[in-house]
Amino acid sequence: MKKDLLGIADLSPEEIYQILDTAEAMREIGERPIKKVPTLRGKTIVNLFYEPSTRTRTSFEIAEKRLSADTLNIAVATSSVLKGETLADTAMNIEAMAPDMIVLRHASSGACHLLSRICRSRIINAGDGMHEHPTQALLDAFTIRQHNQYIDRLKVAIVGDLLHSRVLRSNVLLLTKLGADVWLSGPPTLMPPGIERVGVHVTTSVDEAVADADVIMMLRIQQERMQGSFFPSLREYFNVFGMTAERVRRAKPGVIIMHPGPINRGVEIASEVADGPYSVILEQVANGVAVRMAVLYLLAGGVEEGD
């Protein structure tokens, strides 16, 4: 492993499989009466979150505690950032207290790369703007692998707000690295230009993307990142691009339906689908802890030569 986990872009398929295999072993720890191992005893991990997050922050914190690291959370709403401190200054001040790792969530793409350049601590990207969210893609791959023997050659349909989604970027990078057949669909106004050049199929027809898919991944409509109107109304969006019960009935038997959360019920996914038998949304959340434990463990060791 390299010093930091900034994105899926930096990982080789072997490293991805190494993380997934390690996560498999970590999952068992969560099923023990004492859900804790002493591996990262004496390590300090700072969770620095510049954006609201429940799932990711909680998941990282549980993963860190299960590995016995000392953790502290800095929520920006209560920090000096409100007094005008820059990210680099905040990071250098935290760095001066010698933590071993910093888990960063930030609204600006590339924030983790900035920290990686100025910090000795290991940096883990917990989502940077519209760029990457690597641990989400890893836990998605872990969940897919629980339901399918191989990831390569699977048809994976990803539907929704493609433009603002860091989950999409990380997932496309990971799934294409592992050889999956990736289909993207969403409104043309929410498609990043040139996306088809990365080796995926792109269509505005959800039904075409979903037909015979082994995995359907729904993305959240990110209203907080939308400046301007990208589609007429949420109701219309649901009818044209939402995962309705009718679409699920036409899908391949045994399909799994994923969503990185938080879900907007009745916008990108129908309630009955989100709570239905094909939904693995809560499995994704459960797997997040094991995958993050694997990442923390693998980054805690020595740095390979040349890094």
């Binding site: 072993a25 970590m26 720890i29 009466p33 004492i34 804790k36 390979e304």
Partner: protein, 176 residues
């Protein structure tokens, strides 16, 4: 390099240990075997098979991975992290007499880690240690209850245990 135990010798040694286990533990009801990954696991399974052949009793057998309990996980400056494998102990260890199985006893640090790991699963009545080879050079106050073979070695040498289930053949070799 010298092969110090061949397949036949390993087989007879394990059979002797199986008999010793039965001799020292009157009643096998509360016994359970736990093999330390990697090569302790097939050894534990073989001992379970031998005990079954002797008295028909099925001793529950589990696998323990101690990687996350090692004392050197975050110490080495270079190189990749050791591979973590899963622990699989499909029974409660509470009040059982646990027979911990490993291939080579050397510094004792693996066994220290295994004891820590095991105790987090419950409170066994006792833990006994079985090793195929004791090569000396202890760094911790740990001693095996059942030893297949005492093997005097220099710390510069390494002892390689190969087992059919993992390596395709049974032998113990000293290298270096």
């Amino acid at each position: 390099m010298p092969v110090v135990m061949d397949a036949d010798r390993i087989g007879r040694t394990l059979a002797r240990i199986a008999h010793e286990i039965l001799e020292r533990n009157r009643g096998v009801d509360e016994l359970a075997l736990v093999g330390i990954r990697t090569r302790g696991v097939p050894l534990a399974r073989r001992l379970a098979g031998m005990i079954r052949d002797i008295n028909g009793h099925e001793v529950p057998t589990g696998a323990l991975d101690i990687t996350l309990y090692r004392d050197d996980v975050t110490r080495h400056a270079l190189g990749a992290q050791p591979v973590v494998r899963s622990t699989d102990i499909p029974f409660s260890i509470d009040d059982r007499r646990i027979l911990l199985v490993d291939d080579v006893l050397y510094t004792g640090r693996t066994i220290r880690a295994a004891l820590d790991a095991l105790i987090e699963f419950g409170r066994p009545r006792s833990i006994q240690l079985i090793v195929l080879v004791d090569r000396g050079h202890r760094e911790l106050p740990i001693k095996a209850d059942y030893v297949g073979k005492n093997l005097p070695t220099a710390s510069s040498q390494s002892v390689q245990v190969r087992l059919t289930e993992i390596d395709g053949q049974d032998e113990v070799e000293i290298q270096g």
